[in-house]
Structure formats: C-alpha cells, structure tokens
C-alpha cells in the first residue's frame, strides 16, 4: 500500500474522520453535537467508498471528445461506487432531518439539550 498516492491519503483521512465521528457520538453530551458527530461519520464513510474507485492517472466517467467510446476502458475511473455514494449522500441528509425534528420534540418535552436528562428508557 503506497501511502504517498492520492488514494492512500484519502483512505487515511476517511478512516480518521470515522474515528473522530465515533468519538463525538459516544462522549459528547449536547444533542446537537451528537448529530454533528453523525454527519462527520457519514462524510468519512462516503470518502472511503469514492477513494476505492480511483485508479492512478484516470479521469471522470463521462464520454466526450477526449475520452472516446473505444478507449474508455483504459482511461476512466470506476463508475459503480460513485453511483452508490450518490444515493448515500441524499439518504444521509434525510436521516439528519429526521433526527433534528426528534431533537425539537425532545426539547419541547423537557426543556434541556443534555442527554443525561432523558432517563425514561434506562433500565
């Protein structure tokens, strides 16, 4: 694994962002910061999937005058993980909107944003 290529650096950054996002979800006490941690986690995962689709010296998967139909197989990066990440980003924003509306109702019930106040589902 060559750590001095664009793919190696992007994979490392993605894994570090996953660790920072997990740390934010598990240790922060403010509800909004937990949701921000989830957003950072999502960014890291998407970055890893797109970085796995890159090959050295290749370009975007669009066919025009520079990348013609006959030699597209040698010049084009992998298009399948990019289609997966397109879906994943939109689903991430939907889940964030649902979490934020839950936060509003929870605040209306107990008038506090700390997570230690909500103890009804503790054993």
């Amino acid at each position: 694994m060559n750590f001095f290529s664009v793919q190696g650096i992007s994979l490392t950054i993605g894994f570090i962002l996953i660790l920072i996002g997990l740390w934010g979800i598990l240790t922060q006490r403010n509800l909004i910061r937990i949701i921000i941690g989830f957003t950072i986690f999502n960014n890291g995962v998407n970055l890893i999937i797109v970085a796995l689709a890159y090959m050295k010296g290749r370009t975007a998967p669009i066919i025009d005058q520079v990348v013609t139909r006959t030699d597209a197989v040698d010049k084009v990066a992998d298009p399948i993980p990019q289609a997966l990440v397109l879906t994943a980003i939109v689903i991430g924003v939907g889940v964030t909107a649902v979490m934020l509306s839950y936060t509003l109702r929870m605040y209306r019930a107990k008038h506090s944003l700390e997570i230690n106040v909500f103890t009804e589902s503790k054993w």
Binding site: I32, R33, G37, N46, Q82, I89
Partner: protein, 81 residues
C-alpha cells in the same frame, strides 16, 4: 506530484476543522465547521475523478444541512419567548 501536496494540505485542514466542530463552546461555530468540512470533502471528491459526487455533496451537504441545523437552533433558542 502537486495533486499529492494539495490532498495532504486538504487532509490536515479537514481533520483540524472536524476537531474544532466538536470542541468549541458556541453551537453556531460547530455547525459552521461541519459545513466547511462538507465543502472540503467536495473538493477532495473532485480530485478523486468524481464530478457527479462532488456536485451532490456541495449542494446537499454544505447548503441544505447547515440551513436545517440553523432553523432548528433558532427554534430551540426562541421557545421560552
């Protein structure tokens, strides 16, 4: 060579911004830092030969998520009025 240098600089800035997003006192600064992180991720997607994904991340992650966070924060701050 220059791609490697640019991606390393972007990487260091992204990790610093994400640590700022979880550690400042004010919530507005944390939300803005998450928006900046989304924008830097979009630039890194462009360096990784994925223009569709970069456009989606810049439009959705950077603009819409920040706006939704600020609407909810405003409602929470104004509830006791």
């Amino acid at each position: 060579m220059i791609l490697i240098i640019v991606s390393m600089v972007l990487g260091v800035v992204m990790i610093a911004v994400s640590l700022v997003a979880l550690h400042t006192r004010k919530l507005q600064a944390a939300i803005l830092a998450a928006g900046v992180l989304s924008l830097m991720t979009s630039i890194l997607f462009l360096l990784l030969a994925a223009p569709d994904v970069a456009l989606t991340e810049a439009a959705i992650g950077s603009a819409l998520t920040t706006a939704i966070f600020f609407y909810v924060l405003n409602k929470i701050k104004n509830t006791h009025v």
